[in-house]
Symmetry: C2
Subunit: 205 residues, 2 copies
DNA sequence: ATAATTCTAGAACAACTGATACAGAATTGT
DNA sequence: ACAATTCTGTATCAGTTGTTCTAGAATTAT
């Protein structure tokens, strides 16, 4: 019983994501947030409790709509090695299309708010862990399918790929040029290539 | 002529660096800054013009005291390949010692303020370019000294190393564990190793 | 209809924001 | 000594911050 909510909760949380994403946690004011969400300030506090709680909800929404969706999509109907390659290629494409350079909300949060708020820090760390698990899982699967060298360390390599991914998202904020970003990724992907024998490297002993 | 400045300008700008570093550009208020600098608000505006101009000065100070100092120190009395390795090792050590997880002011700025302020964005991009140039320069030198395989692309590899470096500084904000960070770097440094022949990789054709 | 409950709009809260005004103190050249 | 100039502490500016309050509108169970 009681009066019914008049606003669309999905639209509202999406508006919050957009606002936090574009402005950052601190810079996004409650009034800006409410405007983007299409609700009044009182409704925001009534429905979410406050700015911080809203941010946690927005982060969860972002995680679902961005990397979890991408992981689910790329991991079906694709061989594991191609899933990894497609993931990184998509990040580069997204970074280049991102005209207003909002970057990745997760990465932004890892630097902006995580260090000042251990609770959110753990949430962000968990999300990053999910991405790393995607890499690790597909490396192992690719090794089983003989797509990827059997002697590389899946644990180590997944960490490397996550690091490279984060580096790209930082670089893209100041230098969103395709060649720059692809140069960062290329050596990482080469780790997954089986080494050719017919074309020996110069410089070997 | 006129009244002399009563505060130590070096101490003041160092205080500004510390404040911007710990709190971020937006969160650092002019009053907090003035306190950390040991001066009054009027002196801050008189000496630096305003918050933004002070930030640009603080960034320059930080660049000199952090990575330029490191580059100069590591590049003397060290072979080029060891200079690169030492640089990355130092970043990891610094990230682990950084108890309050301030991270790197340059990286923080690249995400916080650069996208909303193209002027500062260019400044940050230039600083990142200096670090990349350090990598490139030492890769080329190491190749000339046969320390590093001659067939790797110095342009591409320097970009990769910069990306990995930025990735580490992001990861360290949420997961400052040595093993995590070293796992990110290890495959990158392996690019610089001359490939052993006596110990062939499994999985090769 | 009435009670109970939940939502909404808008005003209000104290605290803080970057920036400026002002008066006075300190310095140098004349 | 005097004018000219520059620095400094304090007060102040209008505007914004996250949050709360108040009054009333809308809903369901009885």
């Amino acid at each position: 019983m009681g009066r019914l909510k008049e606003f669309d909760e999905d639209k509202a949380i999406d508006g919050a994501v957009a606002c936090f994403w574009a402005r950052g946690y601190e810079a996004a004011s409650v009034r800006e947030l409410a405007d983007h969400m299409g609700i009044g300030g009182a409704s925001l506090y009534n429905a979410y409790g406050g700015k911080r709680a809203l941010f946690v909800a927005a982060l969860a929404r972002y995680a679902d709509r961005s990397f979890r969706e991408r992981i689910a999509r790329l991991e079906t109907g694709r061989r594991p090695k191609q899933a990894i390659e497609a993931f990184l290629a998509e990040i580069i494409d997204r970074s280049l299309k991102d005209r207003d350079r909002k970057g990745c909300l997760l990465v932004n949060s890892a630097l902006d708010v995580a260090p000042h708020d251990s609770g959110i820090g753990e949430v962000v760390a968990d999300y990053l862990g999910e991405i790393r698990a995607f890499f690790r899982r597909n490396i192992v699967a690719a090794q089983a399918a003989a797509q990827v060298p059997a002697d590389i360390d899946a644990e180590e390599t997944s960490g490397h790929l996550l690091g490279v991914l984060l580096g790209i998202r930082v670089l893209a904020r100041t230098q969103p040029h395709r060649e720059t970003l692809e140069a960062v990724v290329r050596p990482a992907l080469r780790l997954l290539d089986t080494r050719p024998v017919g074309k020996p490297r110069r410089g070997r002993k």
